[in-house]
């Protein structure tokens, strides 16, 4: 479904992503793992069209999408819940969701998708007219995911959805991700919380300083010594 070929992305002269290849198959949950500065968020931003590639290619559903403007990529069916949530804090929950659906024009479908988000996260439905900035971290994360779902994406990219959340909230969010997969959404998950991310993932890629070090199925990576040492705190 999504195929990254020899992608290089740079901030100024510094290459943040140094020629990576990976694929995401339809219906899968794929995790990108790595420490700060490994290039995970950069990868997502490049896929979304927010950053230009230095070289390499991005293919989505058999078409090349790198170089296209961000709004075209959203229209094609790739949505992102960015790092740090980046909600529109002064806008109501409802307006945030409507912005998530900015690329769509079917009012009826938007309405029913909005109800779906409220079903998934009742707390958002109860307080739909309140400003997003008034919500707690966990609730904001729910809204960020809900907002990204509103474009009815084929591929949903989540950038550290567990960041800053309590273990209980993290579980809730991970459960939601599984539910989304069951609904047929393909998910590209960027995480530092390796335990949570890998237990869900069909496939995992481990990034270090802009390069993919190794990859395997989620289960296999959970058992891998290198992963256990670096990300799970095992001796």
């Amino acid at each position: 479904m999504l195929e990254i070929k020899k992608m290089v992305v740079a901030y100024g002269r510094v290459n943040a992503v140094k020629g990576i290849d990976f694929t995401v198959e339809k219906g899968q949950i794929v995790s990108l793992l790595g420490t700060n500065g490994a290039g995970k968020s950069t990868t997502l931003r490049a896929i979304s069209g927010l950053l230009k590639l230095v070289s390499g290619e991005i293919w989505f559903e058999g078409e090349r999408i790198d170089g296209q403007p961000a709004h075209k990529i959203v229209e094609r069916g790739i949505a992102q819940s960015p790092e740090g949530r980046r909600l529109f804090r002064q806008m109501s929950v409802e307006d945030n969701l409507k912005l998530g659906a900015y690329s769509r024009k079917d009012a009826g479908g938007i309405k029913s998708d909005m109800d779906r988000v409220y079903d998934l996260f009742p707390v958002l439905g109860e307080r739909r007219t309140e400003a997003a900035g008034l919500f707690s971290g966990g609730e904001q994360q729910m809204l960020a995911i809900g907002r990204a779902m509103m474009s009815r994406p084929k591929l949903l990219m989540l950038d550290e959805p567990s960041m800053g959340l309590s273990p209980i909230m993290t579980q809730t969010i991970m459960k939601t991700i599984q539910d989304l997969q069951a609904d047929g959404v393909t998910i590209l998950l960027v995480e530092q919380n390796a335990q949570a991310a890998l237990s869900l993932a069909d496939r995992g890629y481990v990034l270090e300083v802009g390069q993919i070090m190794f990859s395997d199925t989620g289960k296999a990576l959970l058992g891998d010594d290198r992963v256990r040492k670096a990300y799970l705190g095992a001796d």
Partner: protein
């Protein structure tokens, strides 16, 4: 206002403080019936000649309010019931007392300056000062009231509508009264009293309630506001001086509303906005039947308006297309430069340095008045026995223009495009990630705002009679921006208020001429310190200045988890 006096002391002293405060307020009331100055030349004659001057009567509202606020809880505390906590009695009394002190000090300073020295203050003035000091100091010792809950009180619809109409009537009266003042000192005192009253009412909780009332009866509010504005010329008895200022205010306000789209909604800092007003004005001047017009094409004004707006928005596109791709600060610098380039270009299009389009620094004088289907704007008309002069004609025209702008603005604000604009303002990258075509939307806002300025400019050309490049200097751009920020970015009402204040103050403070900018700077600093969201806060923007709410939400979540081990879904009744 929070003081460092310990609460126990305040509670101990609450009765003496109340009594002393009352004495001070009564002294102020008595002072109104005594002469404040020797001679009759100060303010609007506060030398007491049989009855208090109008200004003194306006001042009277402050001490009377203090007496009510201090007296009612004293006399009928038991009867107050829920009203004891619905409104903030003590804090409002404190604010009002301090405001009266401020007004008295300004008045005494004005007397001293206008008549030459403090010796000109008569016994009444000193009584007022003493009373104000007494009640201000005494009320500081009152215990603080809790936040007023008046905004949550439910009232009948007719009460709300009545209140709105009443407020608008007071606004009309104050505006007419302020405009009629010839004395700068009196105007300042009046402004001080008015500010004090507004602050006091806000403290009392009235504004919260009024805000809800006007939100519930939005249509009533808008319609009656326009009715009041429409009726304004009838209160002027054909006086041209005030109508001239009022028309200028409206032209300025229409331009500010255009800038409000660019700055307030989309968050693009435009420092050269006046150039678009100038572009519209020059276009209209050139297309007018002025003898100094440089082209031989004079369409009817309806067509001219559209051409002026289009010319301005094309300029907006030209300047916007290359610069809107870069981030905020660069845009400010480029637009600043663009404003200057526009002015200099208009100066140089004089036939020597370039083609003769604008007659250079002479500009285009002798622009005839507008004429709509035989309705000549230059002629006074008599309606209902009241003579309506030339300026009133322009005033009404601008009122129509502003009404149209407001309709467009409100619809835009709640549309998909409006949401996209606000999203760009809040977080451009996130907006882009959501699929908002940020560049196109920014360009649209830039061109749209420029169009409105162009339209306003085309009326301004006819109103001003002559158009010259030096009318469109950077300072004017700064004033427009100040009007938007002061009034409240992204709101219509706020920007109208801001534009009125910024256009009215210089007219009334002419004796300050050189210090005007200093005064504005001071005003802006005070605003940014105490009310950064502007006079009228945009509902979406308020949060920007109150970040602590999110921390509070997080704390509550943590507490819930600590107590219940999970987030209780039934959180209703939890008041933040």
């Amino acid at each position: 206002m929070r003081t460092v006096i310990p609460d126990e002391l305040k509670i101990q002293l609450r009765y003496p403080a109340r009594a002393v405060g009352l004495v001070g307020a009564v002294a102020m009331i008595i002072s109104v019936f005594l002469p404040w100055s020797y001679g009759h030349g100060a303010l609007d004659d506060v030398g007491f000649s049989g009855s208090p001057s109008p200004l003194q009567l306006v001042f009277l509202t402050l001490p009377v309010l203090v007496v009510v606020l201090l007296g009612v809880p004293l006399v009928g505390k038991a009867k107050l019931g829920r009203w004891a906590k619905t409104v903030a009695w003590n804090t409002t009394a404190k604010t009002t007392a301090i405001a009266s002190l401020g007004a008295v000090v300004v008045a005494m300073a004005a007397i001293a300056i206008e008549l030459g020295g403090l010796v000109n203050i008569e016994v009444g003035g000193w009584v007022a000062v003493a009373g104000a000091v007494l009640s201000a100091v005494a009320t500081i010792f009152l215990p603080d009231s809790p936040e007023p809950t008046l905004s949550r009180v439910k009232t009948a619809r007719w009460v709300q509508i009545l209140a709105i109409v009443l407020v608008l009537a007071v606004v009309l009266f104050s505006a007419a009264y302020a405009l009629g003042m010839s004395d700068a000192g009196a105007f300042l005192v009046f402004a001080a009293i008015l500010t004090g009253l507004v602050l006091a009412l806000r403290q009392f909780g009235v504004f919260g309630w009024l805000g809800n009332a006007s939100a519930n009866n939005n249509r009533v509010l808008v319609v009656s506001a326009f009715a009041v504005a429409f009726a304004f010329p009838f209160t002027q008895n054909g006086s041209n001086a005030n109508m001239s200022i009022a028309s200028q205010v409206l032209i300025f306000a229409a331009t500010a509303l255009g800038l409000n789209i660019v700055v307030g909604l989309v968050g693009l800092l435009d420092l050269g906005y006046i150039a678009f007003l100038g572009a519209g004005a020059f276009t209209a001047a050139i297309l007018s039947e002025s003898a100094f017009s440089t082209v031989n094409f004079h369409p009817p004004f309806i067509v001219t308006v559209l051409i002026s707006g289009t010319v301005a928005s094309i300029l907006g596109l030209i300047i916007g297309a290359p610069t809107l791709r870069v981030s905020g600060d660069y845009l400010a610098i480029v637009t600043l430069a663009f404003g200057e380039i526009f002015r200099i270009t208009m100066n140089n299009l004089d036939g020597t340095d370039g083609p003769n389009v604008t007659n250079g620094s002479d500009g285009i004088p002798g622009i005839p008045d507008l004429n709509f289907f035989g309705f000549d704007f230059a002629q006074p008309h008599v309606i209902a026995g009241i003579e309506i002069g030339r300026f009133a004609n322009y005033y009404w025209l601008m009122l129509v223009v502003i009404a149209l702008i407001i309709v467009v603005f409100t619809n835009m604000n709640h549309s998909r495009i409006g949401r996209g604009w606000v999203a760009i303002r809040e977080d451009e990258l996130a907006a882009e990630a959501m699929g908002v075509n940020t560049f196109t939307l920014k360009l649209l806002a830039f061109a749209g705002g420029a169009f409105l300025a162009g339209v306003a400019g085309s009326v301004k050309a006819h109103y001003d009679v002559s158009v010259t490049p030096d009318q469109y200097v950077f300072l004017e751009s700064a004033f427009l921006l100040a009007a938007v920020v002061l009034g409240g970015m992204g709101t219509v009402g706020g920007v109208l208020i801001g534009a009125t204040i910024l256009k009215l103050l210089p007219e009334k403070l002419r004796f300050f001429s050189d210090y005007r900018l200093l005064l504005f700077g001071l005003l802006m600093i005070l605003m940014m310190r105490f009310r950064p969201e502007g006079i009228v806060a945009d509902e979406r923007r308020q949060l920007e200045f109150h970040d602590e709410d999110e921390e509070l939400a997080d704390e509550i979540e943590e507490e819930l988890i600590a107590h219940h081990g999970h987030l209780n879904p039934e959180r209703k009744g939890f008041e933040l």
